[in-house]
């Protein structure tokens, strides 16, 4: 496997990891107000 | 003459006398819509609602349903 191919796999893995992180592990902290926030 | 804020005509001025506090948002009070303050009706929206008032030097738009909860004493001049 040449160096170019290796780099491609690294980049693709990075892209997948980025998307997973972005959409599945983003809810670390929750907003701190109830569902009637901003309406009284 | 006693009436409510909703009954004012364009350009008329009045003094707020009383209101139903549970029907008025706190924000309106903070803008200066309080008993004793003068209020002027500047403009009525083309379709009759909301109304555009000047109270305590704050220029605000409020809906009629809120305005009817505010009692005023009309100033005649």
């Amino acid at each position: 496997m040449d160096i170019q191919e290796l780099l491609v796999y690294v980049i693709v893995a990075g892209a997948v990891a980025f998307l997973i992180k972005k959409f599945f592990f983003k809810k670390k902290k929750k907003g701190n107000c109830g569902d009637d926030c901003g309406c009284h | 003459m006693k009436t409510t804020l909703a009954a004012l005509k364009k350009g008329q001025k009045a003094v707020i006398t009383e209101f139903n506090i549970d029907a008025i948002p706190l924000k309106l009070l903070e803008m200066g819509c309080l008993p004793g303050n003068m209020v002027e009706l500047i403009q009525i929206a083309p379709l009759g609602d909301p109304i555009y008032i000047n109270v305590n030097d704050s220029h605000l738009a409020i809906r009629r349903e809120t305005a009817v909860e505010i009692d005023v004493e009309m100033i005649t001049d």
């Binding site: 170019q4 902290k29 926030c37 | 549970d22 083309p46 909301p50």
Partner: protein, 701 residues
């Protein structure tokens, strides 16, 4: 002393020029981010103060008082009540508008009660003479127990005075202006005895606010004799407000004189025209038309240049970089991917430019006033106009703009229907499909058919939003009362610096936010399209050669056939073929299917995906643009063009209505604090889109 950075919080009512003061103090030296866990914008900037001292300024969201009624306002209170917060200010700078001093001072007296060193900035000083206002500054400083800087952020005067006062903050009085506790002495005395170590006013705020302050006393206070009913609290808050205004009026009676004969009636005259029952609407729709017209005609040239530029760059890269997979990835995945993001910059920048000019000038509030009654009929508020117009740029900031709507029900409906408006991400999809299937001819001599189609799609988006608002209004039942208070600010000439900074920030946020996702997806799609399982992919050349033994082919035709066969048997080809039965009734083939699936993350990926797919699918090295490639695409079974009228219209309708933006779903989740509403958006909008496209295709076929 010199090594210490002074932490400064900029606080003020909306429309006081607080952001201009911030821009003047920090210049370009600012960062915009979010508060952790919530979507409120957090703006921080650095400034150099006299004596080589550094200042870190935080620009807090505009608020009318310390009684929060929105998430944005909560941020202000949470920071000012929590001395352990890393941003807790050494000094608070309260920005006020000289023409609204009375109302603006209400917030000032509340902050003074928190015993934080506070500087009063009286802004818009350039208008004082015109309005006949004179101020007795020494008297005001004495009564308000503060130091005052009279500034004009428009002219840039007085900014140095603010800096001098900030450096000297340790000498500011922290004594409150008035004692709010006299509104109910008995209650407040008991409170003082129960929590002797705490600031009385802080306790009072903790009791009256519905929010979590990270303060241990909140738990102790709940369930004690100190809690009161909402109605009782409100009565006390009214008393407090009256008391504050009494104090302010007494101070201003001496400290401020207004020569009413000089009162300028520009506002009155402009209001008369702009809120007129006929002209008001004519002007509003005229402005809307102007905005859309200019966005399309002005951004056409830069967009075209960007499109061609990236096509050329891709070819250049593949020709000049060493042969190999990485070069393929760069030329066929990364460059078209970045191009797909960059192409949005002109349109988004123009839209944000117009929206920020309309908001800065004070015109937007008049639109709110004009439209409230109409919008109310559909369960919306006049204030929904701002999200619906901003939605033409991007639904994400638009949904955030719905925070200004006081009524929860109206706010929720606004959030739910905003994604129907035609956002700029749909534009490239519309643009390319219209160019392919709608003939370019003139109607009635002046109107271009393609332009009319685009306008029709915008109207369709607004129509979808209004109609679904109407339906939601019938279905939803909430217990909340309807409140509506909109400030009608003074008309102002927008400041170039503010508008420019706003446009740059918003555009940057879009590019870095959505851009990274689009780039990552482009890379993955390229990979899935250029790799495949099994020997059908690996031995494509051999298989194609065997199949076409009889036919004589030029080497070029051969290359194209191999490329097409490979794509069909790649991972992405397999995905596309799997979903083909579902989308065939709408008139789409498996290639379009792939583009639709990948654009569920973000609509604009559609064009980028097709670009990537056709780039992989054809081996010729010419720099044909995406459009040319799509137009040449032929259905192998029928021999007809893939992008014909029926398929095109069906696609246009699908993109008009389908919920295809993960970021919007995420923001809906955040703003409504529930998964229920984003799921309703997703399934409601997408199934409606499927149905409409199905009908359209079957009728036009």
């Amino acid at each position: 002393m010199a090594s210490h950075t002074i932490k400064i919080a900029l606080i003020g009512n909306p429309n006081t020029g607080k952001t201009s003061v911030f821009n003047q103090l920090t210049g370009l030296n600012q960062q915009v981010g979010n508060y952790p866990g919530i979507t409120v914008e957090r703006k921080v900037g650095n400034c150099r103060l006299p004596g080589n001292i550094k200042g870190a300024i935080i620009d807090l969201p505009g608020t009318y008082s310390l009684n929060a009624s929105s998430i944005d306002e909560n941020v202000v209170i949470e920071l000012l009540l929590n001395r352990n917060d890393k941003d807790f200010p050494d000094v608070a700078v309260v920005v006020t508008d000289v023409e609204n001093l009375k109302r603006n001072l209400l917030l000032f007296t509340q902050i003074k009660d928190l015993e934080i060193p506070t500087i009063l900035v009286i802004n818009m000083a350039d208008r004082m003479q015109k309005k006949g206002i004179t101020l007795d500054i020494p008297y005001l400083e004495e009564q308000l127990k503060t130091k005052i800087a009279v500034v004009s952020s428009r002219k840039g005067t007085g900014i140095d005075k603010i800096k001098d006062l900030i450096v000297d903050y340790e000498n500011l009085s922290t004594e409150p202006c008035l004692h709010a506790s006299t509104i109910d002495p008995d209650y407040f005395n008991r409170l003082r005895q129960a929590f002797p170590s705490q600031l009385l006013y802080k306790l009072w705020l903790v009791i009256t606010q519905d929010v979590n302050f990270g303060i241990s006393e909140k738990k102790e206070l709940l369930g004690t004799s100190f809690t009161k009913t909402r109605s009782e609290l409100k009565r006390l808050q009214q008393k407090e407000t009256i008391k504050r205004y009494q104090f302010i009026n007494d101070v201003l009676k001496v400290g401020q004189t207004i020569d009413t004969s000089k009162a300028n009636d520009l506002r009155t005259r402009l209001d008369r025209v702009l809120t007129h029952k006929v002209f008001g609407y004519v002007i509003f729709f005229g402005i809307l038309m102007l905005i859309f017209q200019s966005i399309f005609s002005w951004s056409e040239i830069p967009m075209d240049l960007i499109d061609r530029g990236f096509a050329w760059l891709g070819t250049y890269a593949s020709e000049h970089l060493p042969q190999g997979k990485l070069t393929d990835l760069i030329a066929e995945g990364v460059i078209p991917g970045i191009g797909g993001i960059v192409i949005f910059i002109p349109q988004i920048a123009f839209l944000f430019l117009f929206i920020s000019v309309l908001e800065e000038s004070g015109y937007m509030s008049r639109v709110v006033f004009l439209m409230d009654k109409i919008m109310k009929r559909f369960g919306l508020s006049g204030k929904s106009v701002v999200p619906l117009i901003s939605g033409t740029a991007c639904a994400i900031p638009a949904i955030m703009a719905a925070r200004n709507i006081e009524n929860w029900r109206e706010r929720l409906i606004t959030i739910l229907v905003t994604p129907f408006t035609t956002c700029s991400a749909r534009l490239p999809v519309y643009a390319i499909i219209i160019a392919l299937v709608i003939p370019e001819k003139a109607i009635a001599g002046i109107f271009n058919l393609q332009g009319l189609t685009l306008m029709g799609l915008y109207l369709l988006g607004f129509g979808g939003a209004i109609l679904s608002a109407y339906l939601l209004n019938k279905v939803l039942h909430t217990r909340h009362k309807s409140f509506f208070v909109a400030e009608m600010p003074n008309y102002k000439l927008p400041l170039f610096k503010n508008v420019a900074l706003n446009v740059v920030e918003k555009t940057k946020a879009f590019i870095t936010g959505a851009g990274k996702i689009i780039l990552a997806l482009s890379i993955i799609i390229w990979f899935l399209g250029s790799h495949g399982p099994g020997e059908r992919f690996d031995n494509a050349r051999q298989i194609v050669a065997e199949q076409s033994k009889a036919g004589l082919m030029t080497p070029e035709q051969m290359e194209n056939k191999v490329a097409a066969y490979q794509l069909e048997n790649s991972y992405i080809g397999i995905i596309g073929k799997t979903i083909e039965p579902v989308i065939r009734p709408l008139g789409y083939d498996w290639k379009i299917g792939i583009a639709i699936v990948s654009s569920f993350a973000a609509r604009e990926v559609f064009v980028g995906t097709l670009a990537t797919i056709y780039n992989i699918g054809s081996s010729d090295e010419s720099e044909a643009t995406i459009k040319e490639r799509m137009n040449a695409e032929v259905n192998p079974a029928t021999g007809k063009k893939v992008f014909n009228l029926a398929t095109g219209v069906s696609l246009l309708l699908f993109y008009a209505f389908a919920m295809q933006c993960i970021s919007t779903l995420a923001i809906t989740k955040k703003e409504t604090n529930s998964w229920k509403w984003p799921l309703i958006q997703l399934f409601g909008m997408s199934s409606f889109a499927y149905l409409v496209s199905l009908i359209a295709y079957q009728l036009l076929r």
